[in-house]
């Protein structure tokens, strides 16, 4: 399990362009808000709360191919599955690395961005907590979608169509400051579903 985490971190370090692309993508989407809606402070504050979730959802969607698909296509998934006989450990390691590589950087730059949108410390903290909890749930969903669509063609659009309806509850509750307990419940539910479905998908494609 720790070997897989180490290996995935090293792999993402070696192809660090991907990592910068995701962060830049996230920032650029948020940068579009003032261009699209003007620079009134109050309006920006409201829009930021919502668009930050859309940006997170899109960032996760564009990274979903890198969870299992790349390793499946070049054959490394076979090695990984052989070395991690307990498939649940494998999946949990993938959750950890995917979150660590692609969500953590977004959360780190979030406070910076939210100050650019005139939000104060309290509001930033609220957004941060919600995004922190919700990002886990979204990562769980992204993982099982990635495992289910390993053998599919034209996948990125298909994955988006599958994932966005599943992200809807997160986005609804995410933009409300007080609903972090619901986000937590949703994340836990998606963890339970995800671990079963991912294992199912990986076993099917292993055959």
């Amino acid at each position: 399990m720790s070997n897989l985490i180490k290996r995935d971190l090293l792999l993402s370090f070696y192809s660090s362009a991907n990592f910068f692309f995701t962060v830049s993508f996230f920032i650029l989407i948020l940068m579009l808000i003032p261009f699209a809606f003007g620079t009134q402070t109050e309006q920006l504050k409201v829009l930021f709360r919502g668009v930050v979730w859309i940006a997170l959802a899109l960032s996760i969607i564009i990274t979903v191919d890198r969870i299992y698909n790349a390793d499946y296509e070049d054959g490394n998934l076979d090695i990984i599955m052989q070395k991690n006989k307990t498939i649940e450990y494998l999946i949990i390691s993938k959750y950890i690395t995917h979150w660590f590589i692609y969500c953590l950087p977004l959360l780190v730059i979030l406070p910076l961005l939210s100050f650019l949108f005139y939000l104060d410390y309290l509001e930033t903290t609220q957004i941060f907590i919600n995004l922190f909890i919700g990002s886990f749930g979204m990562v769980f969903i992204a993982n099982f979608v990635s495992a289910l669509t390993l053998g599919a063609r034209r996948t990125i659009f298909l994955k988006a169509i599958i994932m966005i309806p599943l992200f809807v509850p997160f986005i609804i509750f995410g933009s409300d400051a007080g609903s972090w307990p619901i986000l937590l419940a949703l994340s836990m539910l998606s963890f339970v579903i995800s671990i079963y479905v991912t294992a199912y998908g990986l076993r099917l494609y292993g055959e």
Binding site: N3, S15, D74, D78, M81, K83, E207
Partner: protein, 199 residues
């Protein structure tokens, strides 16, 4: 002394019968060549033996224990599939480092690659290599040496004469150290191995 054995092994994919009544037994120090035409189920057989495919009829026994019941079985074999498990956009060096972590074993790659005359490409991206060179590097995984069994899926494809002989030599050496090899091939090999089955 290890023994890998199948008893009346059959496998259906959907409604197609891919494998029908395969029986063989192979002991430490032996090599089994699985021959068959394209699509005859050679890869399926290797994937059953490496416990990826679990829905089959009949028995696969390692030392008289079913492979699905043996918890340690997964750490006993080394499977080299047809995909070469290389990241195209990374150099050979980086790819080998990633494998080292996955296999939990640090190898002296420089010496081993010199053997195959690949060392001068050590920092080149994999995408710039030829298919034969990729296959050589893919087979480089055989140097991880904690395994009792090797499962090689079409190992001689793309290899030139020199590398083919090097691989045969390596298999012989592994056999002498009481290792067991099962390899698939659809062409005649330059050397006779211990056992051969047709499927």
């Amino acid at each position: 002394m290890n023994e890998l054995k199948t008893e009346n092994l059959s496998c259906k994919r959907g409604e197609n019968i891919v494998l029908n009544n395969i029986n063989f037994s192979i002991k430490s120090g032996e090599t089994l060549v699985v021959k068959g035409r394209n699509g005859s189920g050679k890869t399926t057989l290797l994937r059953i033996l490496s416990s990826f495919i679990t829905s089959y009829e009949g028995k696969v026994l390692f030392n008289d224990v079913g492979i699905s019941e043996d918890n340690l079985y997964n750490s006993k074999f080394n499977l080299i599939g047809q995909k070469n498990s290389l990241k195209e956009n990374l150099s050979i060096k980086k790819n080998l480092e990633l494998w080292d972590i996955l296999f939990n074993e640090a190898l002296d790659h420089t010496k081993l690659l010199e053997h195959n005359n690949l060392y001068h490409l050590f920092n080149k991206d994999v995408s710039s290599l030829s298919d034969g060179q990729k296959k050589c590097i893919s087979l480089h995984r055989l140097n991880y040496n904690k395994y009792d069994l090797w499962f090689l899926d079409e190992p001689f494809v793309f290899l030139d004469e020199v590398n083919t002989n090097l691989l045969i030599e390596k298999i012989n050496q592994f056999n002498e150290n009481m290792g067991t090899v099962i390899l698939t091939s659809n062409i005649n090999l330059p050397k006779k191995f211990h056992k051969e089955i047709n499927i």
